[in-house]
C-alpha cells in the first residue's frame, strides 16, 4: 500500500519542483528569449561579425566582474573595480607610448590592480572600514591617477601589440578572449564550489561573527576577494587598451552600473539569492546581448541606462526576496 502511495507523483511537489527549476534557470530562459527576439527583429543581429563583437565585449566585462561577484557574495561591496580597469588601461597606454613593450606594460597594469586590491582588502578586511566609502575613495584615487597619466585626456596607442593580436585571434565565431573568459570562469566555478574558500565566502555573508568565531581567517579572506577583484579588473583594463587602441581615463563610468547589475542578476540563477560566477557569466552575456540588440534597434545610451537601472532593481529584489533571511541582506551597509 505504502509502495503505491510513494509511486504516485505528488502534484504539489511536482509543481514546486517545476517552479524551483523555473526560478533557478530563469536567466537562461530570459537569455534565450532575448536572443530569439533580437534575431527576429534584426536579422543582422546573428551575423558572425556581430556575434563576435558581442562575445568580445561580454568577455572583457566578464573578466572585470568576476572578482566583484565574490566581493558581493562575501557581503561586502566594491565600487572601485571600474576605476581600477581605467587606471590599468591608462597605465598600459601610457607605458606603451613611452616605448615599453606590451608584455611589460601589461605587467605594470596588473600591478596597479594588485595594489588597489590589496589596499581595499587591507582597509576593509583588517581595519574594518565601511566597504562602500573605502572603495569609493580608492576608486576616486584610481580615477584621478588614470586622468593624471593622460593629463586629463585620452591617450592613443600607436600599436596594440601582442594583446591586440590575441583579441583578433578567433576559432570560427568564437574569439580567443571568450575562450580565456570561459576558462577563467571554469576555474572560478571550481574554486567557488569545490574548494573550502568558496564555502567560506558564502559563510562570511551569512554571519561574519560566526566565521571569525569558528577560527576562519575572515580578514585574510576579505583581503583575498578584494585582491582577486583588483587583478580581474586590471586584466580587463589591459584588454580594453588593446580593444580601443587607446587609454580612456573616464571609461570606468560605463562599467559601474553594468558590473553591479550583472552580479546581482547573476544572483538569480543556480544559487538563488547568492551571487555566483556562473550567474555572473550568464548575466554578462544577457547584458551584452541587450546592449548590442538595442543598439541595432536604434536605442540611445540613456534609454539603456534606464533599462539597466530597472534590471538592477529587479535583480536585487529577486536576490533579497530569494534569501531566507532578509535581515542579512544589507549588503555593505555594515557600519
Amino acid at each position: 500500500m505504502s509502495d503505491t502511495v510513494l509511486k504516485q507523483p505528488d502534484p504539489v511537489i511536482f509543481v514546486r519542483g517545476l517552479r524551483e527549476i523555473f526560478v533557478r534557470y530563469s536567466l537562461f530562459f530570459i537569455c534565450i528569449a532575448v536572443v530569439l527576439t533580437f534575431s527576429i527583429l534584426r536579422p543582422d543581429f546573428t551575423h558572425a561579425e556581430n556575434i563576435k563583437e558581442v562575445l568580445i565585449s561580454a568577455s572583457i566585462s566578464g573578466i572585470m566582474f568576476l572578482g566583484v561577484t565574490w566581493v558581493v557574495a562575501a557581503g561586502e561591496i566594491d565600487i572601485s573595480f571600474m576605476e581600477v580597469a581605467a587606471l590599468s588601461d591608462m597605465l598600459v597606454a601610457g607605458l606603451v607610448n613611452a616605448g615599453w613593450g606590451w608584455p611589460l606594460a601589461a605587467c605594470v597594469g596588473l600591478l596597479a590592480g594588485v595594489a588597489v586590491g590589496l589596499l581595499n582588502g587591507f582597509l576593509v578586511g583588517y581595519m574594518r572600514l565601511p566597504a562602500l566609502i573605502t572603495t569609493l575613495a580608492t576608486g576616486g584615487f584610481a580615477r584621478s591617477m588614470a586622468a593624471v597619466i593622460g593629463l586629463g585626456s585620452s591617450v592613443e596607442v600607436s600599436h596594440t601589440g601582442v594583446v591586440g593580436r590575441f583579441l583578433n585571434l578567433h576559432f570560427g565565431f568564437l574569439p580567443a578572449v571568450a575562450v580565456l573568459t570561459i576558462v577563467l570562469y571554469a576555474i572560478g566555478w571550481f574554486i567557488q564550489e569545490k574548494l573550502v574558500f568558496g564555502h567560506y565566502i558564502y559563510a562570511m555573508e551569512q554571519n561574519r561573527e560566526a566565521v571569525v568565531e569558528a577560527g576562519i581567517p575572515a580578514r585574510r579572506l576579505t583581503l583575498l576577494v578584494y585582491l582577486i577583484s583588483g587583478i580581474a579588473a586590471a586584466i580587463a583594463g589591459i584588454l580594453l587598451t588593446a580593444s580601443l587602441a587607446s587609454g580612456q581615463p573616464r571609461i570606468g563610468v560605463s562599467f559601474f552600473i553594468d558590473g553591479l547589475t550583472t552580479v546581482l542578476l547573476g544572483g538569480m540563477v543556480i544559487k538563488i539569492g547568492q551571487p555566483n560566477v556562473l550567474g555572473t557569466l550568464l548575466a554578462v552575456l544577457l547584458l551584452a546581448v541587450l546592449v548590442s540588440g538595442t543598439a541595432l534597434l536604434g536605442w540611445s545610451d540613456w534609454e539603456r541606462d534606464i533599462l539597466k537601472g530597472a534590471l538592477l532593481f529587479i535583480g536585487v529584489t529577486i536576490v533579497v526576496k530569494g534569501r531566507a533571511t532578509p535581515e542579512t541582506a544589507q549588503m555593505g551597509g555594515a557600519h
Partner: protein
C-alpha cells in the same frame, strides 16, 4: 561646553588656520576677500549635497543616487523654464520630482527591505537616464535670461551672494530640524537602534524615507545652482557631487565624533578650502579626485571607534599625569 567638544572644536579651528596659513603663504590671493567669497560659493553648490546626505548617514544608510537625481531635477527645472513657466514653480517642479525619487528610494529600502547601496545605484542610473528625456542630452538654456534663474547666481541678499545666503538658511533650518527638535532625536534613534526606536514610538520607516527625500531635494537644489552659474541646464549637473559629499560628511563626523549638521558644515568648509587652494596653486583639476579621496580615507580611519578609544586613552593619560603633578 564640555571638554571633549572643546578639543574637537579646537582641532577644527586649528585645521582651518593651518590650511589657511599654508595656502595663504603659498598664494597671497588665498586670503583675499574675493577668494573667501569664492570658497563659500563653492560650498554653497557642492557642499549643499553633503547637507542632505548627512540625514541619510545619520539613519545609517547610504545614498548613491543623488548625483543622478540632481541631474534629473536640474534638467526638469531647465525644461520648465524653457517651456515658459515662472522661476519659482520651475524650481519647485525640479525639487518635487527629485523628492519623489527620494520617496521611491526610501520606500524600496524601508518597506521592501532592499539593500540601500544597490537600490540607490539603480535609482541613480534611472534618474540620470531620465534626465536625457527632455532634450536627448543637449543643454537647455531657452528663457534662462528672462526667467531670472541667473539672478540666483548674481544677486545679493543682505550683503551675501544669493547662493551663500540660501546655503546658510538651509544649514540653519537643517540644524534646527536635526538638533533642536523631536524629529532630529528620532533620526538619530532610527540610526542607532531602529528596533528600540520603533518600540519607543518612533515611526522608523518615515524617518528613513524622510532622510532620502532630504538628500534628493538638496542635491537637486545644488544642481539648480550649477545651472544658474553655467547659464544652462545640462545632464552633467550632478556629476561631481558624489565623492565630495561623502567626504564632507565623513570628515565632519571624524572631527566631531558623529555626523551632524555643524560637522558637515565644517567638513565642507575644509574640503572647499583645500580644493580652492590647490586650484590657486594651479594644480590641474584632475588631481581633485585624488585629494578628496585621500581626505575621505583619512576621515573614515579617524572616524573609526577604535581610533577614538586610542585618542581617549591618550587624553586620559595626560589628565592622569596632570593629576599626579
Amino acid at each position: 561646553m564640555n571638554r571633549a567638544l572643546g578639543i574637537r572644536l579646537g582641532a577644527f579651528l586649528a585645521m582651518v588656520l593651518v590650511i589657511g596659513a599654508v595656502f595663504g603663504l603659498l598664494s597671497p590671493q588665498f586670503l583675499s576677500q574675493n577668494n573667501i567669497a569664492a570658497i563659500f560659493r563653492h560650498m554653497s553648490a557642492d557642499g549643499i549635497a553633503g547637507l542632505g546626505l548627512t540625514f541619510v548617514i545619520v539613519v545609517r544608510r547610504f545614498d548613491l543616487s543623488f548625483p543622478g537625481i540632481a541631474a534629473l531635477g536640474a534638467m526638469t527645472t531647465g525644461q520648465l523654464i524653457a517651456l515658459g513657466y515662472p522661476l519659482f514653480p520651475s524650481i519647485l517642479g525640479g525639487i518635487t520630482l527629485g523628492a519623489a525619487c527620494g520617496i521611491i528610494n526610501g520606500l524600496a529600502i524601508s518597506v521592501l527591505m532592499l539593500p540601500d547601496i544597490v537600490t540607490t545605484i539603480a535609482m541613480g542610473s534611472i534618474a540620470y537616464g531620465l534626465s536625457f528625456i527632455y532634450s536627448n542630452g543637449a543643454t537647455i538654456s531657452d528663457n534662462f535670461m528672462e526667467s531670472g534663474i541667473l539672478d540666483i547666481n548674481d544677486q545679493k541678499i543682505a550683503y551675501l551672494d544669493e547662493p551663500i545666503f540660501f546655503m546658510l538658511v538651509l544649514y540653519v533650518f537643517a540644524w534646527i530640524v536635526l538638533h533642536r527638535s523631536r524629529f532630529g532625536r528620532a533620526f538619530y534613534a532610527t540610526g542607532e537602534n531602529p528596533r528600540a526606536a520603533l518600540f519607543s514610538g518612533v515611526h522608523v520607516r518615515f524617518y528613513v524615507i524622510a532622510a532620502f527625500v532630504l538628500t534628493s531635494a538638496t542635491a537637486v537644489w545644488a544642481g539648480i545652482l550649477h545651472c544658474a552659474e553655467a547659464g544652462q541646464a545640462d545632464p552633467s549637473a550632478g556629476d561631481g557631487f558624489l565623492t565630495p559629499a561623502f567626504a564632507s560628511v565623513y570628515l565632519g563626523a571624524a572631527l566631531f565624533g558623529f555626523a551632524s549638521v555643524p560637522a558637515t558644515f565644517a567638513g565642507t568648509l575644509l574640503i572647499s578650502m583645500m580644493l580652492n587652494g590647490f586650484t590657486l596653486l594651479s594644480v590641474p583639476y584632475y588631481y581633485s579626485d585624488a585629494i578628496i579621496s585621500i581626505v575621505l580615507i583619512s576621515a573614515i580611519a579617524f572616524f573609526d571607534p577604535r581610533f577614538a578609544v586610542i585618542l581617549q586613552r591618550i587624553i586620559n593619560m595626560r589628565s592622569l599625569t596632570g593629576a599626579y603633578k
